[in-house]
């Protein structure tokens, strides 16, 4: 057993209000630079929808992620042979138009336009060429199902549904959507790291954050192809790839990453998980329907004395172990089994878990009559607005049982809390729902508390080690006396 610690995350999709505050917080800190304007290290998609870059989930197009190859896995569109063969031209690279051409407006024209009969306008200009552009699309063009026939119906996950199911999803009475905020998953089996020919991408041993060394990146641009989530981006100006850094300078000083800190819906949770690095390969190569379980097996119980002993032996600090015990991610993912990885079939073992959107129905449409007089307040989870198979395609590699189990638990918590606070669902009904979901009332209350009332410190459990050793992470303190302690001493300018 090789125990390591990983900063992991949970996004509770029922709580996301789609405000994009997270994206803006990230943009303001990290990607408001030339060449990075088009990058959204954090982006929020509407589902069903095609996402950003367009149809990123379709690996027939982009060849991202891993493929099962006997007892192990191999990269789908990169790797030693394919990568070096395609180094002069990468056939699977998404190009600017797959994202969108970033633009701004000529605001000055509003002031300098000569007097005339018309209102002056600020025309859009490309941030790449500086010339006027006809804006065709943007990173969230299909927000809130805008332009659904063109976007939502192209959603790759709909392929798993029957034609009738698809039609039902787009009936006006049933039409629904939810938001899917995405950042880099800081995977346990990162395809980006494996695909990088120059070895510039690496996973930090201490906390599992995946970073690109800007000094060593040579623009071989294989990581952009390899990441199935399209969370490495190529900076066309500096000639270097960039990705989400999980705000590691903030984490090291004990602060939550900017997108987490600013999240309006408070949907985001962050904390360490202990895991067994020896099991990574085996879990990544698990059969498709067992992928979620295999991944869950990797994470270790931070309360188990034997695990604690071995973790200490492996150099994990007491403060990190203590943080792993308080980690909200441990609770959501392992204890309550409410959160699932996004597209586990890409086999990168992502460390960002999602509590799927519940979207229950309270009525049925019968012959055009809206009928809300059912026996209980909510209909069962099978008649939720989103087909279970759709959610399974997103969060469990097609295993609907996993989704139904999560839904039942979420529903049971609601029924239980409704009976406690409002009282219009009976105690018996709540007890039956809890029984069926396999949780007790105390657990339901704990889930309710962490979901709805959690404070900042409960949502973000950042190991104290990072605060104390922020310089030590990079340098030996004796060597950097009198200097800033940061390694990057050259201006990040495009070379020749």
């Amino acid at each position: 057993m090789d125990i390591r610690s990983q900063i992991a995350m949970v996004f509770h999709l029922d709580k996301c209000i789609g405000c994009h505050t997270c994206s803006i917080a990230c943009k303001n800190i990290w990607t408001d630079r030339k060449g990075a304007e088009y990058m959204w290290w954090n982006n929020v998609e509407t589902k069903p929808g095609t996402g950003y870059p367009t149809k990123w989930e379709d690996q027939e197009i982009y060849k991202g992620g891993w493929e099962k190859n006997g007892d192990t896995v191999s990269l789908k569109g990169a790797g030693k042979f394919k990568g070096l063969k395609n180094i002069f031209h990468n056939p699977h690279l998404p190009v600017l138009d797959d994202y969108y051409e970033p633009w701004t407006y000529k605001y000055q024209d509003l002031f300098t336009a000569p007097e005339g009969n018309d209102q002056p306008t600020a025309r859009p200009v490309s941030l790449v060429t500086g010339e006027h552009v006809d804006v065709q699309s943007g990173p969230n063009w299909d927000d809130d199902l805008g332009g659904s026939p063109d976007y939502a119906r192209q959603d790759v996950n709909l392929d798993k549904l029957t034609a009738a199911e698809q039609e039902a999803m787009f009936q006006l009475e049933r039409m629904t959507f939810f938001y899917l905020p995405r950042i880099c998953n800081h995977c346990l089996n990162p395809a980006c790291v494996a695909s990088c020919p120059s070895g510039a991408i690496y996973k930090r041993g201490e906390d599992g954050i995946v970073l690109i060394n800007q000094q060593r990146c040579r623009a071989w641009r294989m990581c952009v192809t390899a990441c199935p989530y399209k969370k490495t981006y190529y900076n066309w100006h500096t000639g270097k790839s960039e990705k989400c850094v999980l705000c590691y300078p903030r984490l090291e000083s004990g602060q939550a990453p900017a997108c987490f800190h600013s999240c309006v819906g408070r949907i985001r949770y962050l904390g360490p998980l202990l895991y067994d690095a020896d099991k990574i390969e085996q879990a990544a190569a698990a059969p498709e329907d067992q992928l979620v379980d295999a991944q869950m097996d990797i994470y270790l119980d931070p309360f188990d004395p034997e695990i604690i002993r071995q973790a200490k032996e492996n150099g994990i600090a007491d403060s990190t172990i203590e943080a792993a015990q308080r980690s909200p991610v441990w609770k959501f993912v392992k204890e309550w089994k409410l959160a699932l990885p996004l597209h586990p079939e890409f086999r990168t073992l992502p460390n960002l878990f999602y509590v799927p959107a519940l979207l229950p129905t309270m009525a049925k449409v019968n012959d055009g009559v809206y009928d809300s007089t059912g026996k209980s307040l909510w209909n069962g989870v099978e008649s939720n607005r989103l087909p279970m198979r759709y959610l399974a395609s997103l969060f469990s590699a097609g295993n609907t049982e996993k989704i139904v189990a999560v839904m039942k638990r979420l529903m049971a918590v609601r029924t239980h809390r409704r009976s406690v606070t409002v009282g219009d669902t009976s105690r018996e009904e709540a007890a039956a729902a809890l029984e069926e979901a396999g949780i007790d009332a105390d657990t339901a209350d704990a889930i309710f508390r962490l979901t709805s009332l959690a404070t900042f410190d409960e949502r973000f459990v950042i190991p104290a080690a990072h605060r104390e050793e922020s310089i030590e992470m990079l340098e030996s303190t004796a060597d950097v006396k009198g200097s800033t302690g940061f390694g990057f001493k050259e201006r990040p300018q495009r070379g020749l």
């Binding site: 190009v95 494996a194 690496y202 004796a478």
Partner: protein, 241 residues
């Protein structure tokens, strides 16, 4: 005198600039070492330019290298006229492929608006050198038959004399071929420009990718030992930052 400047002074000057410049740029200006891929801005035309260009150069580079390192084997191979012809035609085909590639790349740089934005002054130098180099190379191959044989007789001794610090330029200066002289001079010019242009990118060819393990995990400190200071006692620092 001119011959001396071109075939003795220039080679040494450019090799010197190349060595010092590349080491300096690699070590102190690591951020600027990149292939500056522009595929993200334009991919389709790049394919038709970059692939024939690079594969052409790839083969030609090793062709030159083999003729330089093992002239006797090349001569032996060429003893049979059919084999000589096969070698010459293959080499010429890859030369043409590089030529067509570079033309398409130049055309792409000139006509695509997005690519113009990422074209630096040094890129202009790069393409001028490459055009001169490839065109002169093709002319030599076409007019001065059969290059694969006389390369071993004239060029290899000259190049070797440069590298053993005993420059003998007579052989090369006496060859009555302007294109060959241009080809040699522009080759050394190219070498001198490596540290100042995107030519840097082929020095950092990721050969170690072929043997390194796929995943890379880097600990900033030795997690089982107290960290030690570089200046006070030994202990390895991560090389990745």
């Amino acid at each position: 005198m001119t011959n001396y400047l071109l075939f003795v002074a220039l080679p040494y000057a450019s090799l010197f600039i190349f060595l010092i410049g590349s080491i300096y740029r690699y070590r102190n200006r690591g951020f600027s070492v990149s292939s500056y891929s522009s595929q993200f801005l334009e991919g389709r035309r790049l394919f038709w330019g970059s692939q024939p260009f690079h594969w052409g150069l790839f083969v030609l580079f090793f062709g030159h290298l083999i003729a330089f390192l093992f002239p006797k084997s090349v001569l032996a191979w060429n003893g049979e006229p059919v084999r000589l012809l096969i070698l010459e035609i293959t080499a010429f085909a890859f030369g043409l492929s590089a030529f067509v590639g570079v033309l398409l790349l130049v055309q792409r740089r000139l006509t695509n608006r997005r690519i113009q934005i990422v074209t630096s002054k040094m890129d202009v130098v790069v393409f001028i050198i490459l055009l001169v180099q490839i065109i002169s190379g093709l002319l030599v191959a076409y007019h001065n038959r059969w290059g694969s044989s006389w390369f071993a007789a004239f060029v290899t001794p000259y190049l070797r004399s440069i590298f053993v610090f005993d420059p003998q330029m007579d052989a090369i200066a006496s060859v009555d071929s302007l294109s060959l002289k241009i080809h040699v001079v522009s080759a050394f010019t190219l070498i001198a420009f490596i540290p100042f242009t995107r030519f840097m990118h082929f020095l950092v060819y990721p050969l170690d990718y072929t043997w390194r393990s796929y995943q890379q995990v880097i600990w900033n400190w030795n997690r089982k030992r107290i960290r030690t200071s570089r200046s006070h006692s030994e202990g390895r620092k991560s090389t990745n930052n």
